[in-house]
């Protein structure tokens, strides 16, 4: 399947109703409406690329040091890894947060609405040592950053 077809699948699958899609196209709705339903295919994807294509519409991103990831070098317990992502990119619309080593790498997406800054914190599960990846969509392009986190007690099993 080519990227293009996937992207179309993404649009169809994740926009609640056709009319919403049109409304977005016409600029009637705030950008957060783009992700109007839980992107199942993205969250169930086993690879980073598939997850990103389904969640962000594209898998290619350019590394950016305007994105800062705060996460521990060594996670105390993979069940609770505090992660913060902030970006000083103009027009940041959404953020995808991934744990590269997880069976299903996409952990969360955040769509910034009215006045929201690209600055979120949460706590995630990590099954093993790997990179935490943050993808920020700004100006229609994907920007990325990663930070490695060593996990000694995995958080996905028992």
């Amino acid at each position: 399947m080519t990227t293009n077809i996937k992207r179309r699948v993404f649009l169809k699958g994740s926009v609640a109703a056709g009319t919403v899609g049109i409304a977005v196209g016409a600029g009637l709705l705030a950008p957060q409406a783009v992700l109007a339903a839980w992107p199942k295919a993205a969250f169930e994807a086993k690879s980073i690329d598939d997850a990103l294509k389904n969640a962000m519409g594209d898998a290619s991103s350019s590394a950016s040091d305007a994105i800062k990831i705060k996460a521990p070098d060594i996670a105390e317990n993979g069940a609770v890894v505090p992660v913060s992502v902030s970006a000083s990119l103009d027009g940041a619309e959404s953020i995808a947060l991934l744990a590269e080593g997880n069976a299903q790498p996409l952990v969360a997406t955040f769509a910034m609405g009215a006045g929201a800054l690209a600055d979120v914190s949460t706590r995630i599960k990590m099954g093993k040592t790997s990179d935490v990846i943050a993808i920020v969509k700004a100006g229609g392009k994907l920007h990325s950053a990663r930070k490695s986190v060593k996990v000694t007690i995995g958080g996905c099993g028992g």
């Binding site: 992700l35 996409l106 952990v107 955040f110 009215a114 800054l117 599960k125």
Partner: protein, 105 residues
């Protein structure tokens, strides 16, 4: 589920409101086995969190079971004043939901 499953703290610093919220939820991935029975514990996780203030959606988050049990989320937005309300709502994959509001301090 606890009666109040959402705790919110919202503070204004300069023009920016920082919202911190803690939700009570098991966040089961569906990939974990019950230690006693050996059976898979069914997936049960918050998959959508929305934040509203002043009638506008300020944040929409989609989650997997990869967010830790009793999830924490913080985010920031501009344009609100002290005394305004922030409303946080979540929905989970089993049809559960909850919502709570707090005043910005």
């Amino acid at each position: 589920m606890a009666k109040k499953s959402i705790k919110i703290r919202a503070k204004l610093k300069g023009d920016t409101t920082q919202v911190k919220t803690l939700m009570t939820h098991p966040m089961e991935t569906g990939l974990r086995k019950d230690k006693k029975t050996g059976k898979l514990i069914p997936a049960h996780f918050i998959n959508e969190v929305t934040a509203e203030s002043g009638g506008k959606t300020v944040m929409t988050a989609y989650w997997s079971g990869g967010i830790s049990k009793n999830p924490y989320l913080s985010f920031s937005f501009d344009g609100a004043s002290a005394g305004d309300e922030v409303t946080i709502s979540w929905k989970d994959n089993q049809g559960g939901s909850d919502s709570a509001s707090a005043k910005i301090k």
